[in-house]
């Protein structure tokens, strides 16, 4: 006590056991040891169990012929194809329904979220009832419901709804004509992408011009024009030919064309409606979080209604919206695994059920399936983190 200034110099060095650093290392070693011991024991047990059950292990089954059919595939596949092909088919089907689902759920979710804030009483209440009903019932039950509903309301094959003699809707799905491009048509597709790139450049230039001169340019209509006219010109000039494979009723079913089966529609509907309910809530709280003063300030600056939403409110709301939105996108992707319950051949249904049943390689198949979802999830979060860092508030 006498020498207060020097006291912190003379702090007795803590005993070896009490040194936080030493303790930290000790704890970590213990945790490490436990994890390693756990992994070793599990690996040993698994090996012993597999040996006791006379089961073969390894990934060699991927090259074997699968022997089962899948009714909805994005790549050529039949029962002579390998298990690897079946795996790819399942993965692509999962991706297809997830990507389309994310897109539609975002659209619907934003609409509903804005509807909940509508000053029209009936619309606001309907949106509320929708949200409160759908997000409090398990998705699995909802999928069963939509699948039944679609099958009950769609007509039989012979009484199909028909548009332009080429699009047919019935219990077996929606049949579209399938475009069959010839070789030259690739140029038209290329032109289409070039036009999209051009539209982006145009937007960039218009923004610059707006900032420099204050003059507006009708970017939206101009872009639409470019995207339609340029490929159309290329089409005319090159003389490319695009024929259509129109579905025709043969025997039981329509043959040819592109088919979207009702399982796909039901899964998509279920996922979109369910996820949209959550997105609506996220959007609503995002917009509510933007202070009212912002709207007023924008109005006093003389911004038009659309510009006010687009330039002031939405960008600020997006900061609040994006992180939870990411996890909803991931949830939708993961929830698509419930496809198995209504017969849509996704990754879980094709790979973790049919393939697992036939090959019995439980460990390998569950591992691969989990890795696929892990990769998807990491990629999505990486992209959304990048996007989030772009819209995040810059604190000055």
């Amino acid at each position: 006590m006498a020498d207060q200034n020097g006291s912190h110099k003379n702090v007795p060095k803590p005993s070896f056991v009490n040194d936080p650093k030493v303790r930290g290392i000790f704890y970590q070693l213990v945790v490490m040891a436990i994890i390693v011991a756990f992994v070793v024991v599990v690996a040993q047990n698994t090996a012993a169990n597999l040996a006791a059950q006379n089961k073969s292990t390894g990934f060699d089954f991927f090259s074997q012929s699968s022997g089962f059919d899948i009714f909805f595939t994005l790549i050529p596949y039949d029962r002579a194809s390998s298990y690897w092909d079946a795996f790819v088919v399942g993965m692509l089907n999962t991706l297809l329904v997830s990507v389309i689902g994310v897109f539609l759920a975002t659209l619907l979710g934003f609409t509903l979220g804005i509807a909940r804030l509508s000053n029209n009483w009936i619309i606001a209440k309907m949106a509320m009832v929708y949200v409160e009903t759908l997000r409090n019932i398990p998705l699995l039950l909802q999928l069963f419901f939509w699948y039944t509903a679609i099958l009950k309301t769609m007509p039989n094959v012979k009484q199909s709804f028909e548009w332009f003699g080429s699009i047919f809707v019935n219990k077996r799905g929606i049949y579209f004509p399938k475009p069959v491009p010839d070789d030259i048509f690739n140029w038209v597709i290329l032109a289409f992408f070039i036009a999209i790139a051009g539209a982006f450049l145009l937007k960039h230039w218009a923004k610059k011009r707006l900032e420099n001169t204050g003059q507006r340019f009708p970017v939206f209509w101009a872009s639409i024009g470019i995207i339609i006219i340029f490929p159309a010109l290329v089409w005319l000039v090159s003389g490319a030919n695009l024929s259509f494979d129109v579905p025709i009723l043969k025997g039981f079913n329509y043959k040819g064309g592109l088919v979207l089966p009702p399982e796909f529609m039901a899964l998509l509907l279920g996922l979109v409606l369910y996820t949209a309910a959550f997105i609506a809530e996220i959007v609503r709280s995002g917009i509510v979080a933007v202070e009212k003063g912002q709207t007023e300030a924008a109005q006093s600056l003389g911004l038009k209604d659309g510009d006010r939403l687009r330039l002031v409110i939405i960008p600020q709301a997006m900061r609040v919206i994006v992180p939870p939105l990411t996890s909803q996108f991931l949830n939708l992707t993961k929830n698509s695994s419930l496809a198995a319950a209504i017969g849509y051949p996704d990754l879980v249904s094709v790979f973790m059920q049919t393939t697992l049943n036939q090959t019995g390689r439980a460990v390998e198949i569950v591992f691969v399936t989990m890795m696929v979802y892990l990769t998807l999830s990491l990629l999505t979060s990486a992209y959304m983190n990048w996007y989030n860092s772009r819209v995040a508030m810059v604190v000055r």
Partner: protein
């Protein structure tokens, strides 16, 4: 003087005249809320049309043309053409939906009357009753003894549930877990999910914030892996792979396997919720605790966690809602939860009729909805309370 005599000057204030008829009452209200602008009017008409399209058939199916239980109502009534939901079927199978295969009490099953009908399943019913008795005061914000109550609910109660249902002690007949079923199992999975996932989530969240690299990495990996995969793959792993992880000849109860899967899965989500609470706390709190001479665990236990957890109560309830809805997935791996008992009863030929399945699913949806909606209202209420206590 003269001015005072001017006839047109009023001395007293006239009463407010009533608002014009068009802006008051139901007319004014609908003018403001439904028809304030052309676009609003169009929206209102679309909304009304939609309601007219959906509601009457829905009402007729669920109430109007439904077959209600009663004397002499048999499956024939449900098979008649054009009937709605077959509630008589739900009534008949109700005990299976709630108790599953749980055996009736031998003595009370032979008795008659209201008491006997409760006592037939007195073991399960007392589990429900005790659960409600413990849960209500725990959720009631103003009551005291929260710590004791929480210990009772989170530690003692699960043990009570286990011995009450499983039996084999205190003279109770042993009932294997495969005989548990229905709503009982759904609630058990929910209960175990929250009891395991909350402490585990806290530990994981603390680990994720730890300065020790190995512990931090381990926690991050655990959290991210479980959060990245769908629950159905986790359940498949639990049901197909977990037996392989055990020593040869050792088996794990089927329900326990599902419980492990569900708990780990929701612990990862819980960890992220808790982390949100930890990050929201100003750093001053932990610095203040340190300056008081508290070590890590003391400052966590008495300063940081109580505040952080209070902040995220709504988040915890929300992830519990998600967990509760997810319990329906165990039906896919053959556990007899509420949804599975409904599905299997839908196969029952004694009640075979066109609307059997849809009625069953409707019932299950209603049960889930009541639980989840109740919890979400509770979460909203807590959110409101927490908000005011900070702003005022």
């Amino acid at each position: 003087m003269a001015k005072n005599n001017l006839a047109f000057v009023r001395k007293d204030i006239i009463d407010e005249s009533p608002a014009p008829n068009l802006s008051k009452g139901i007319v004014g209200w609908s003018k403001e809320n439904l028809f304030s602008s052309p676009s609003n009017t169009i929206l209102t008409i679309i909304g009304m049309a939609l309601l007219l399209y959906i509601l009457p058939p829905l009402y007729n199916f669920v109430f109007g043309h439904a077959v209600w239980p009663g004397e002499g109502v048999t499956v024939e009534a449900c098979r008649a053409h054009g009937t709605g939901a077959c509630w008589a079927y739900i009534d008949d199978r109700m005990s299976f939906f709630v108790y599953g295969f749980f055996p009736k009490d031998a003595y009370w099953a032979t008795q008659e009357g209201f008491l006997a009908s409760i006592m037939q399943y007195w073991r399960v019913n007392s589990v429900f009753a005790v659960g409600v008795l413990l849960l209500v005061p725990l959720m009631w914000p103003d009551l005291k003894y929260k710590t004791v109550n929480a210990i009772l609910f989170f530690v003692v109660y699960p043990v009570f549930v286990f011995y009450m249902l499983k039996g084999g002690v205190f003279g109770l007949e042993e009932v294997q877990t495969e005989s548990w079923g229905g709503l009982t199992v759904t609630l058990i999975i929910g209960l175990v999910g929250i009891v395991v996932s909350l402490p585990m989530g806290i530990v994981l969240a603390l680990g994720r914030q730890s300065k020790m690299p190995i512990i931090k990495t381990a926690c991050i990996m655990f959290i991210e892996v479980w959060r990245a995969v769908p629950l159905i793959t986790v359940l498949f792993m639990a049901s197909v792979m977990l037996p392989l992880f055990m020593p040869v000849g050792m088996t794990v109860d089927k329900l326990l396997r599902a419980l492990v899967g569900v708990s780990f899965f929701s612990a990862a989500y819980m960890a992220e919720v808790v982390r949100g609470g930890l990050q929201a706390l100003p750093k001053g709190q932990s610095e203040a605790a340190a300056s008081l001479g508290m070590n890590y665990w003391k400052s966590m236990l008495f300063i940081i966690l109580p505040q952080a957890l209070k902040h995220v109560i709504p988040g915890i309830v929300n992830s519990f809602i998600a967990l509760f809805k997810d319990t329906s997935l165990v039906s896919i791996v053959g556990i007899f939860d509420l949804l599975k008992t409904v599905q299997i009863s839908n196969l029952n030929l004694d009640w075979a009729s066109e609307n059997q399945a849809i009625t069953g699913y409707l019932f299950a949806a209603a049960v889930f909805w009541v639980f989840c909606f109740g919890m979400s209202r509770y979460s909203l209420m807590m959110e409101d309370r927490l908000n005011t206590s900070h702003k005022n």
